[in-house]
Amino acid sequence: MAIPPFERFYEEHRDIVFGLLVKRLGRQTAEDAFQETFLRALRAYPRLEHGEHLRAWVMKIAERVSIDTVRKLRPMPEIPDLESIDERPSYQDLMDLTADLPPKERAAVVLRYGYDLPYDQIGSALGSSTEAARQAASSGVRRLRRKESQ
């Protein structure tokens, strides 16, 4: 199947791509992601070898752009329960709440949820790796939940 001129490809897929992005990201963010999706498609277009599955191809690009966009907006995947809190807890509340945690876990939880720092910065603050910081915060939160349910 011949590869159509980009204009035709774009006209045929722009609405469905935009629909997907709005569903994933909300209208405002979807507009930037829309442009990024078709710019990526345009860059790759000369390397396409046939015109089959163009819709699946561009939808995959759109999915990838939404994932990148979400990552950019929220630097790290969050712990689900705490993420659903609308406002950050106050510093004092956090200090009280975490008083019984081991020091490293406490620091990680406070820096993450009190100061909203990304894990790489928490890692440097604690002299450990990004992953270790993430684990410390996560096990701190698990410990708090266990305590809460007792």
């Binding site: 159509p4 980009f6 507009e31 829309f34 710019l39 345009l42």
Partner: protein, 186 residues
């Protein structure tokens, strides 16, 4: 969900601005019907009287990244408007004819020197490129002129003064020559 005209416009601008296009084109109204006008980074590459068929042709000739970007054709559209209003005799546009065979490029280079409102013949043009017997080949080269109007193949007529032929149709050739007052009335 429908893309808004503003978002659509922004994407087209961004694509052209990033230098990612092989060809940008637009449609332009004119007294001889709707024209498709197209440009590469190097210059004006196409003016067509039948817009519908031309987008595929552009894609095959210059590359698939063909997109309608009206702002890129502002200058072309403006100069054509001025021409059709009788306010412009010479175009300040650089045609991009690099993809054409050498013979055709020589014919078109020579054609570009035929002044506004004047007629020449296929034979005379053939003589000017040093191939006086190639009148027929010159006719063929002009018939495939990718940028008519700007490269004025309408100013070339048969040895007996007959209009002979024109890719867009003889009525358009006649109209352009009338506009330039190159035809005697009656």
């Amino acid at each position: 969900m429908n893309v808004t005209p503003e978002l659509d416009r922004r994407f087209r601008e961004a694509a052209a601005g990033a230098g990612l296009l092989d060809v940008a084109y637009d449609l332009a109204d004119s007294p001889v019907g709707e024209l498709l006008v197209a440009t590469t980074e190097r210059g004006l590459c196409r003016i067509a009287f039948e817009p519908d068929e031309v987008v595929d042709e552009l894609s095959q000739t210059f590359g698939r990244r063909v997109l309608r970007v009206p702002s890129r054709l502002d200058t072309v559209r403006r100069q054509l408007d001025e021409y059709f209003e009788g306010r412009r005799e010479a175009f300040e546009l650089e045609p991009d004819i690099a993809v054409l065979p050498e013979f055709q490029r020589r014919v078109l280079d020579e054609l570009a020197r035929v002044p506004y409102g004047q007629l020449t013949t296929y034979g005379a043009l053939a003589g000017r490129i040093g191939q006086p017997r190639a009148a027929r080949a010159v006719g063929g080269a002009l018939n495939r002129n990718p940028v008519p109007i700007v490269l004025p193949c309408h100013r070339v007529v048969g040895a007996n003064g007959s209009l002979t032929g024109y890719a867009g149709g003889l009525h358009i050739k006649r109209r352009l020559l009338e506009l330039e007052r190159a035809l005697l009335a009656g």
